[in-house]
Structures are given as structure tokens and as C-alpha cells.
Amino acid sequence: MSLPGQLSVLFPLASGLGASSPLAAVLPASDSALERLPLTLRGLLTGWLPASWQWLANSLIAIVVLIVAFASLFALLTLAERKILGRVQNRPGPNRAPLPFLNLRTYGLAQPVADGVKMLTKEDIVPDGADRVLHFLAPIALLAFSILTLAVIPYGRLLVALDLDASVLFFFAAGAATELAVFMAGWASRNKYSLLAAMRALAQLISYELPLLLSVVPVVLMAGSLSTSVIVERQGEWWLGFLPRWYVFTPWGLAGFLVFFVASLAESNRSPFDLPEAESELIAGHLTEYSGFKYALFFMAEYFGMCALCGMAVTLFLGGWQAPLPFLSFIPSYLWFAGKLLALLGVFMWIRASFPRLRIDQLTRLAWKFLVPLALINLGTTAFWSLTADWAGLLQPLRWLIAAGLIAGPFLLLGRNLSKGLGPRTYRYAA
Amino acid sequence: MESLEQIRERLLARFPDAALTVIANPGPAGQPSLLVGSPHAASIAAFLRDDPALRLDYCSNVTGVDWPDREVVETIKRTVPPPPPAAPADPSAPPVTPKVIEEKVKRHIPGYFEVVYHLYSMALKHGPVILRTRTADRTDPASLPSLTPIWRACEFQEREVYDLFGIRFTGHPDLRRILMWDEFKDYPMRKDYVEPDDYEWEPTPHGAVLDKARRHYPAPPESR
């Protein structure tokens, strides 16, 4: 089913899902029925189509499944966020929204439905001075780019929507365009506060783009490829028979994961870095002039971005859809991916419930003076790690020690430099 | 801490031509105050703050007081000499005791504005020393010296006294209304302040509220 070169590149969706990509042949596809369930389902739907139409149907199905899955995840995430925040604060969280026609109390499950209806019915006010085209385009552009990033994440052994050779680069290319949408939102509202806030949001997004990318380079270097599915494959082996060789369990991998995690927190405007919509400063930042469904679109785009970044963190560092223990691999791979993704999203919400907000200059100082140098040093450590891959038995622990030291040293140094003059204080008492 | 009289002596020594009088406090609180003439108020205050024995570096409270004109009825006991004896003095008659009569004398005391400062010392932990500055009379351009240049604590409180009493403080760096809105004309805390007639009907009018109600409604609403 080889397709003319350009087409396969332009619409590689079909080739990936068609399991005809060179990669699938290499991997021993564990053929448990559960594992291939999604593919068999898709086969039922598009099996009767002629070949040329099949790849179109496949790609359409992939798109629809992705959007439906992540939209419903978005709805559940808003509820989970408020429930976790509530439980942390010793209160139940939303539990009163009844189902539309029967007043059965559903422990809050109907809350996203209620929010959706509220957002739809809210009046969509556009300030008259605003630049209508841009004001309308900003949320759509933001949402479009966030959804694009979801295409390259491998959700299961064979479930990757777009199996590109340079899929990691595609992920960050699409992610980088969200700044454009933030600028459009800030500029189009024609309001001095939202422009000021858009500038601050851009400063934050740009200064955290660098550590985000730099923390991914070690993974690409060790995995030897930019393709996400290859990276997940590389993390398939086991140490001493049962320890998974996920990258997060190597010194450089842990450092890379932490830098990636902190940078993704900032990139998706989440808790310690949620400066743009800090209510104690410039009200809702660049979202001040949005209401109704456009505001919901911004909200949805933020959650899509968060899911994408968490998905990428799981793929790069937590072994994507690999099972943590060998004998557990009978559970289908997409469930493992979903579990890890939800765990990481839970940590996002947990952090949102616990930490105050950083100021704009502290935020950028953290990026430039702490995360970027740490990521660069981590790159050096990974180079050392890959060069010493073949050290004999006794030298292996030494290799680990050196790598750990290469990271811990600068971490402590930079940490002390960052919190110079800050620290717990002792207080004297009056005579 | 030395008593108010000793402080007054030292101040008189320091500022011979200053008007300083001690005002007794009749109540059981035992807090007499020191009336200071306006011209020397600032320099006296600076002295009180910097004097090593007193060190009154903390001005806790600035209060404006409006003393309206008062008619004081005093009963004076006057001994009236016995009328010249018409008959010759006869020793046997009982001596005529001088008659004591009480007269009601109506004395008019002119009103004035007054600002009271309660001073404490954080360094030596003593106080209060109470300063009073008075205006000559209650005519409107009432002005008193501001002590903000000495104690920064007086800044807001003097602005409040200006806002509610109408006493202009000369030397205050930023004298504006602080509680009322800037366009407000009158001074609410004065005793002769007439409230705006923004009466809102209340179902249980009695006493002062009843008069207002009558002005708005000839007969009080369905007198039950």
C-alpha cells in the first residue's frame, strides 16, 4: 500500500495507522486481542472501503477519536480539578449539579454539563474598540495549535495518530505558535491592562520555551531518534529483569523530567506560574475582554495544552505506554498510558492547590538563571552517559555516581544562588 | 516620668514667652493635660520628642473637640453685710448673722475648637502626656499648627480632624479630606452640624425620628 511519496509525507496519518510503517514490522506486536482492540474496531468501520478511501476514513476516525477523547477528558478535568481542590481544602467540591431532567444528585458529574451550558448561554461581549477579526481568531488559533500537538503522542503500542520521523520537533513547532494566539488575544481586546498582561504572558511563555526544549534534547540523544514511538520503544527493556529502563530512572532522565515538568507548568500557565490570569493583579490578564463561549475556548485550549505536555512528559520520560513490570504487560498499552497521564495531571492539580504565585521577575529569573543552565548541564551529563555506555561491571555504579554528581552539584549551587538572601529566620524575644 | 507641672516648668524655662497652662481633669482618670499656645506648639512638640528625659516619640492619638458657646449658670454664695442696725446696738439682742444669699449668675463662655494629642514614649515606655491646642473662637477659618512634621502619625489623624471639624492645619504636607468625598462642603462632627434632610420613612417613628417623619408626612403613617 505504498503511496506516492509526497502524499505519504503530507498525509502520513494513513501510513502510520496502516501499520505499514517500517517500525511496526520490527516490533513483536503483542497480539493479545485487547491490545489490538482499537485497530480491529477501526477495521470494522473502514474495512469495506476501497484502499484509496480507507486511509482517508482512518485519518478522519483518528481525528474524531482524538477530539472526542480529549474534549471529554477536558470536561472531567475541570470537575476533577475542583473536586481535588475542594478535598484538599476540607470541603466536598461541586456536588449539587443535577442531571438535566431528573434531580438525581450525581456527586458533581453533571457539573461539566452545567458549566458547558452556562458558557454557551453567556452573552458574548466584544468591546466596541476591539479588533473584531483578531478578537474572534485568537481563541480559535490557540485551540487549533493545542489540538495539533496531540497528534504525535503515542497513546498505545500502535495508536499514534501521526507517526512522523521528527514528531518531537512537530510537537514543539505547534506548541510555539500558541504565543501568537496569546498576543492576538491581548492586542485585540484594546484594553491597556490586557495588553500589559499579554506582554507578561508572552515573556513567561518564551522564557520557558527554552528549558522545555533543552530538557528534551537528552532524551532524543539517548533514544537516537526524534520519533516519539521509537523513544517509547527504547524504554521497553528491563534492568535486572524487572526494573523498567524508563529514562526517568537515570540521573540525567530525572533532572530532565523535573526541568520538563516545571517548564510545562509554566508553559500551560498553571499554578505557581499562573501570572496571566492572576486575580490579584491585572484581573483576568489577556482574557479580560472575553466572555461566553470564547472564554470557554481559551479555557479548553489551556487544558488541551496541559494534556499534551503531560502526554509528552509521559512519552519522553515515563516510558509512554510501557508497562512498569514485565508480568504486567498483559494489560493493554493504552491503559498504561492513560494511567500515567491521569497521574501526572493529578500532580498538576495537587501543585495548584498548594503553592502561591511567583512574581514576573522571579519567574523569568527562575527560567534563565536556574532551569536553562541546569538543562545545559544535563545535556553534558547525558553526553558523558552515552559515551560511557559500555563501561564494564564495576565501573557502572561509578558511572551512575559521576552522572548523579554532575547534576546534583550544579543543582545545589544554582539553588543557593537563586535563593540568595532568602531562608527561614530565627526570631529573638524581647528582654 | 515627671509630673505635668515639672514638664511645664522645664518648658517655660526653655520657651519663656510660650503660653502654657495645665488643665486639670476632674474625672477619676487622673490624666491632666497641658494647653499649649499656637505660636510655640511645633517647637514645644519637637522639644518633647527630643528631650532625653521625656523622649515622647510616639503620638498615639489626635482628637478634634468642638466646644460650642455655653451659658453656664453658677450659684455664687455671697455674704450680705447685715443692714445698718436701725436701733442702737443693744448688746442683749442676738448678733445679726450676715445673711448669705445665693445668686444665679449667668456666665457666657465663648466656644472654641480644640485638638488633643496623646503622646507616649516607646523608648522609655512611659506616657501619656496630653497636649491641647485651642483656637481663639469658633469662626470658620479656624487654623492650628500641624504637628505632622514632628510625628508622622499625625498625618492621617489631622487630615481626619480637618475633614470632620474644619480645622486647617498650617504646615501639614497634604491637607485633604480623608473620609468624606472631596466635594463635600460641611463639617459633620461639629456640634451645630445640621444633617441633610434625606429622611427615609421608618415604620417605628418615635422621638427625634418622629419629628422628621412629621415634616415629611403631615400625619404619621396609619397611627395604629
Binding site: 466536598p92 498548594s354 543543582f411 543557593r416 | 417605628t204 418615635h206 422621638g207 395604629r224
Partner: protein, 215 residues
């Protein structure tokens, strides 16, 4: 080391998250309409007038319309008109006793200064009305409630008040008996007919120190 404080913070929030599922100490929400808070006995909201026998709620009011509470009430929200019979003689009963609930701040000064224990504090806080004047102006009929209701709200305080009243009544009866007894012997200087117990001087000295209620 950078980050230990943050981890400690996370540990605290995690403890609360887990705690909220099993430890009542960490789950404090009371879902109001379904679950109502148990009000302590001393809780006070708006006043009400106490009457002694439920069959005649307006006749047996303890209030003698001495208007002490009307003068002492800080926001002046009580309005009393004394009842007069046809000849104009004052009856010891309020013809009109209104309290404007929207002005009253339930500070219980009226209860404190009332020498006859005629007015006590109620405990109902769910008062929503459509009209500010008719709805929130409680007249004598709505204010008057039975002594049993008072016992139900503040048991210890009510018991103490009843004991005090009973003791006062006994003292007055004894005083009347003592006055009637000498009158019986020297019939000539007939004591004037025992008029109704003179109302105690309105300016009773110290407000009767209310007996200590047990919360």
C-alpha cells in the same frame, strides 16, 4: 536545599486530601438546607414577647409598656403605645408593640434592661420577606410567644427567670398578706384597697443581673 519547603507543603495538602475522606476533623462542610447547625443555647437573633398563659396570648403579656427598652434600644427600632381604657386610665398593657426587624441588630440590650423579663431573644434566623415594611415589621401579635417556647429555647435561663418570678410573687403575696393582716385588726385606719402591685420604680437600679445560663 531548594525545594524541601515545597515538598513539605505538598505533604500537608496531601494529608488533608486523604484526611478529608476519613477524618471528620478535616471535612467541615455542612450542607445547609439538608443539614442544619445545632444552635447553642445562648444563641440570640431577634426578640420576642413572653406571655404566661397560652389561651390569652395578648392579655397575659408580661410587658407593662414601661418603654424602658424603647429608650435604651441603640438603633431605636421598638415602638410602644400604652393601652388606655375608655376613661383614659392607663392599663398596664401595650396596645401597640412593634419591632422593625430590618433595623434590629439583635444586640439583646432590651432583654438586659427589661425589669419584667417580658422580652427575650428568639433563635430563628431564616427570615426572608418580600416587603421591607409590612413583612419585617413584627407587631405585638407576631411577637408574643408562650413561656413554654421560651423554656424550649433557653432552658436554664427560663428556669432561673421562672424561679425569680415565683419568688417575687411570693414576696409580694407575703407583703400583701402582712399589710392585709394589720388592716384586719384596726379596721378604722382602713388601708386603701390593695391596689395592683405598684410597678417597681422604672429606673430600677442595677439591671437584674441575669442568672448565669448554662450553654
Amino acid at each position: 536545599m531548594l525545594g524541601t519547603g515545597l515538598l513539605q507543603g505538598l505533604a500537608v495538602t496531601a494529608k488533608n486530601l486523604v484526611g478529608s475522606f476519613h477524618d471528620p476533623e478535616r471535612y467541615v462542610t455542612m450542607e445547609y438546607p439538608e443539614v442544619k447547625t445545632k444552635l447553642p443555647e445562648n444563641y440570640r437573633n431577634f426578640p420576642f414577647l413572653v406571655h404566661d398563659d397560652p389561651k390569652d396570648p395578648l392579655g397575659s403579656l408580661r410587658c407593662v409598656a414601661c418603654t424602658i427598652c424603647e429608650t435604651e434600644c441603640p438603633p431605636q427600632c421598638i415602638y410602644i403605645v400604652m393601652d388606655r381604657d375608655e376613661k383614659g386610665k392607663a392599663l398596664k398593657r401595650p396596645k401597640v408593640f412593634d419591632i422593625d426587624i430590618s433595623v434590629c441588630m439583635s444586640c439583646q440590650i432590651c432583654v438586659e434592661v427589661c425589669p419584667f423579663d417580658a422580652i427575650k431573644m428568639d433563635q430563628h434566623y431564616e427570615i426572608a420577606e418580600t416587603n421591607r415594611f409590612q413583612g419585617l415589621l413584627l407587631s405585638r401579635e407576631q411577637l408574643s410567644k408562650s413561656n413554654a417556647y421560651y423554656h424550649q429555647l433557653h432552658p436554664t435561663e427560663a428556669a432561673a427567670v421562672d424561679a425569680l418570678l415565683a419568688e417575687q410573687k411570693a414576696k409580694q403575696a407575703a407583703a400583701k398578706a402582712a399589710k392585709a393582716a394589720p388592716a384586719a385588726k384596726p379596721p378604722a385606719p382602713a388601708a386603701p384597697a390593695a391596689n395592683p402591685p405598684p410597678p417597681p420604680a422604672p429606673s430600677a437600679e442595677a439591671p437584674k443581673p441575669p442568672t448565669p445560663p448554662a450553654p
